[in-house]
């Protein structure tokens, strides 16, 4: 058994760690904790290319039921959101849009924009009605805090009885371990409960939570809140890395490395001026006129040094890999696909 160091605890890092651990590798995952996976909203926008089965297996979890196939949901401003795989509570089967939606807001909380959402729903031909819950939430307190008590859920269920829409649009407010609440609420009010899709918030955060648990469950050693500051490279081989975090700096020896630090968006690649740059100062970056598409260059699946030499045991995964096809919102499927490719390349090496 050999040791693989995975750098980056976003979607690609967690997924490749899990794949490697299942294949019997010793995996150490180092990540400084970025909002990468939550940026992807927790829904997989485009159809994954080759790892649908692995992804379904990876994502399956009793707390967060996933639905596969063409899905649609609503953002927190009421705009339509299309995707391929998603938490079932955030979306409906494409083509089966509700005819009417109750938009729920909580007094004083900016989590959902009721007037904007209602107006944009109406523009799409969906009847919207507005339900303001008489729960006062101070803006500095996360919404979940107000929903820790049974009372809040009862109040919500009771208030929903006064409405008659086909579906309910909720500001996302449930932690992963309490996801079953939404099922209970659906049963109680007898209709679909939708969670609004938001950037930088649930359900994306919940997906990160889930992925983290799956990787840990597969035996991956996870060092959160730490960053790799330098790589120990001899010739074409990564031999170790300097990991720093908290008050300690340590050297880690490794037999192979997966670089999954993310693209320019979540700070994995440096941006100098309008150009992308490798923060380690080691690897070749393929530039593109669109910074979103640029990223690490590769040859036969392996990373390439700035001097043109192909690495023997280093691969890149996720948004930091150069991609012609990446688009806004397609990042998550691409990241997971590329994690699978990276693991395959490492196995071949």
């Amino acid at each position: 058994m050999s040791r693989v160091l995975v750098i980056g605890n976003g979607a690609a890092g967690l997924f490749s760690s899990w794949l490697l651990a299942r294949k019997g590798q010793e995996v150490v995952l180092v990540g400084r904790g970025t909002p990468s996976t939550s940026m992807s909203t927790g829904c997989i926008r485009t159809r994954p290319e080759g790892c649908e089965r692995e992804m379904a297996e990876f994502l399956v979890n009793e707390h967060m039921p996933w639905a596969v196939g063409a899905r649609a949901g609503l953002s927190k401003i009421g705009t339509p959101f299309r995707c391929w795989m998603a938490p079932s509570h955030s979306t409906w089967k494409y083509g089966e849009a509700p005819g009417s939606v109750t938009v729920v807001s909580i007094e004083g909380h900016p989590a959902i924009h009721v007037r904007i959402a209602s107006s944009l729903l109406i523009a799409q031909g969906i009847r919207a009605e507005h339900l303001s819950l008489p729960i006062a939430v101070p803006p500095e307190v996360p919404l979940t805090a107000a929903f820790r008590s049974e009372g809040s859920w009862e109040l919500l269920a009771k208030a929903l009885r006064t409405t008659s829409s086909d579906a309910v649009l909720l500001p996302a407010m449930v932690p992963l371990r309490e996801y079953g609440r939404l099922d209970a609420l659906e049963r109680q009010c007898g209709r679909k409960v939708l969670e609004a899709v938001t950037p930088l918030g649930p359900p994306g955060l919940r997906l990160t939570e889930l992925m983290h648990a799956r990787a840990a469950g597969a035996g991956v050693t996870i060092w959160d809140g730490r960053r790799v500051t330098a790589l120990d490279i001899k010739g074409d081989t990564v031999r170790g890395a300097t990991v720093s975090g908290g008050s300690e700096v340590k050297e880690v020896a490794t037999d192979a490395a997966v670089i999954a630090t993310g693209g320019p968006l979540v700070d994995g690649l440096n941006i100098k001026g309008r150009e992308l740059d490798d923060p380690f100062g080691v690897f070749q970056v393929a530039r593109s006129t669109d910074a979103l598409r640029g990223g690490y260059a590769s040859r036969e699946g392996m990373m390439v040094r700035v001097d043109g030499r192909r690495m023997a045991n280093a691969v890149a995964a996720g948004d930091c890999v150069y991609s012609e096809r990446r688009d806004h919102g397609s990042g998550l499927a691409g990241a997971l696909d590329s994690a699978r490719m990276a693991v395959m390349a490492l196995e071949g090496a």
Binding site: M39, T41, R45, S75, I77, T79, P80, F81, R82, G108, P110, H113, V114, R115, I116, S119, L120, A123, P139, V197, T198, P199, P264, L265, D267, I271, K272, G273, R274, A291, L292, D327, H328, G329, S330, G331
Partner: protein, 507 residues
């Protein structure tokens, strides 16, 4: 609707004229086709000139600036930061220019004091240590939005009617007089044409277009200037390059940022304000010669304005102003040229002309009466002082007990937005931004826009998608040339708007 005077253009000059005339008891109406301050009055540095910049080449304008500088500091201290200014020459600059500058300051009345390079760098630590000659001048930083807003508030209190988003669409001339002015009000408040005694054309870059409606000519050279907004304040004083006025000479600390400027090129139209990649590179290169820390500084936004200049284009044109009576029309007065710093003087001269025409003998009072609260009010809190700088007298109507922040980049309170909406002037998200700064920070409105819009929709029926698109597109112009961290911010913005909110797909 009958009015003694119709003023077209709600920039600094128009707002100043409305205040001036209203204080003299003249019944006037001020109209702007967009928001107040949407033209060059908003698209400038916010530099309260001491006059120093023009002493050598344009002494007339320099003398005007010198006088108005002290007047404005006296009447409107709430929206002026008396930062002081420095004129600094570098080794590559013409060594004789400094002496010419010194003499010209003396003859134009611009107060200046030469200081040693050591004193200059100790009071302005970011200054290039190779600085050769340094002069202190009384430059300041002025918030043009609050200045114009204060003029409008004051004008209204004195009885003037001021409406934004109200465009003049046509004029009827009979026997050499404008007898009727047709308007189109975006909010339907004005339904009948205006019948004015006198029409004042204070439409800045649009001066020729408005005069054209009465078949008159008014000349202004249109000149585009680009500016950059940096993250954070990079200097304490207004920093000027001590050389003949040219491009990339000025850095002005303003609110949470520093404004760098400017460039100069002929503009094809009043809307031709686009900033190019070359402008951005040029401005950074030139201004960082004065303040080396600007080299690695994050540029939040680039923006442009179109200056209406007198006589010729670009740097050769005078910054002074002219007032002309319509060639074939008796009751049209056009004003062109000038500076933000001299807006009050321009307004005074125009108002004198108008009062002459109306047979009104009252004199100007705008230099005597305060435009807003005094700069330091005893016993006020820091929060209130901050609000006073933005809102002048209106600050007292904003609740500081509600601490909810709506724009985290610029730390704008939700109650500021509520108070602004209550005035009824803000029709668009950009209107709210001009008044509150919500959306001017480094995320350029990504975070606060939705919350502001939600509040706006409480009081008015509007199409949220249209409003969002209009605003975000305008902000996008400013970050299209972004690099480094601001490019990253731009990517995030696109990702959220198109990827999560699907706004690109909702066409």
């Amino acid at each position: 609707m009958r009015k003694d005077v119709l003023i077209i253009g709600g920039g600094a000059t128009g707002a100043g004229i409305a205040r001036d005339l209203a204080l003299r008891g003249v019944d006037c109406l001020l109209l702007d086709m967009g928001d107040f301050c949407h033209g060059a009055s908003g698209g400038n540095h916010g530099l309260l000139h001491s006059g120093g910049r023009y002493v050598v080449k344009d002494p007339g304008s320099a003398a005007e600036c010198a006088v108005e500088n002290t007047v404005l500091k006296r009447i409107a201290p709430f929206c002026i930061e008396d930062t002081g200014g420095l004129f600094v020459s570098l080794p590559e600059d013409d060594p004789l220019f400094a002496d010419r500058f010194k003499d010209a300051c003396r003859s134009t009345g611009v107060p200046t004091e030469e200081i040693g390079a050591e004193e200059a760098t100790s009071s302005e630590p970011g200054l290039n240590p190779l600085a050769v000659r340094c002069f202190r001048v009384p430059d300041g930083s002025v918030d043009p939005f609050s200045l114009v807003q204060a003029n409008i508030c004051d004008a209204r209190e004195a009885g003037a009617l001021a409406l934004n988003h109200c465009a003049v669409t046509g004029m009827t001339v009979e026997d050499g007089r404008i007898v009727r002015v047709d308007v189109q009000d975006r909010r339907g408040r004005l339904s009948s044409p205006i019948v004015p005694e006198v029409v004042v054309n204070a439409s800045g870059a649009w001066v020729a277009d408005v005069a054209g409606l009465a078949a008159c000519t008014a000349r202004a050279g249109l000149d585009q200037g680009s500016m950059l907004v940096t993250y954070g304040r990079q200097c304490r004083h207004v920093i000027n390059r001590l050389r003949e006025p040219s491009n990339g000479d000025i850095a002005v600390p303003s609110h949470t940022s520093t404004v760098l400027g400017t460039t100069s090129r002929p503009a094809r139209s009043p809307d031709d304000s686009a900033v190019t990649r070359e402008d951005v590179d040029f401005l950074l290169r030139e201004t960082s010669a004065l303040l080396p820390s600007l080299r690695g500084c994050r540029i939040v936004r680039a923006y442009g304005g179109v200056r209406p200049l007198l006589g010729g284009n670009g740097r050769e044109a005078s910054r002074s102003f002219s007032i002309t009576r319509g060639d074939a029309v008796d009751n049209l007065v056009s004003v062109a040229g000038g500076k933000l710093t001299t807006y009050r003087l321009m307004a005074e001269k125009v108002s004198d002309t108008v009062c002459d025409m109306l047979g009104n003998s009252s004199g100007c009072r705008t230099h005597l009466e305060a435009l807003g609260p005094p700069a330091d009010v005893e016993g006020g809190s820091i929060a209130l002082a901050r609000l006073r700088r933005k809102y002048g007298r209106m600050a007292s109507s904003i609740s500081t007990s509600d601490t909810r922040v709506i724009c985290s980049c610029e730390q704008v309170l939700r109650s500021e937005v509520t108070a602004v909406l209550k005035t009824g002037d803000a029709l668009t998200l950009a209107d709210v931004m001009r008044r509150t700064r919500a959306g001017m920070g480094y995320c350029q409105g990504l975070d606060c826009t939705l919350s502001v819009l939600e509040l706006m929709m409480q009081g008015a029926k509007m199409d949220p998608l249209l409003a969002l698109r209009e605003f975000l597109r305008e902000r996008e112009h400013g970050i299209s040339q972004a690099s480094g961290d601001q490019l990253r911010q731009g990517l995030l913005r696109e990702h959220v708007l198109n990827g999560v909110y699907g706004m690109g797909e909702m066409e």
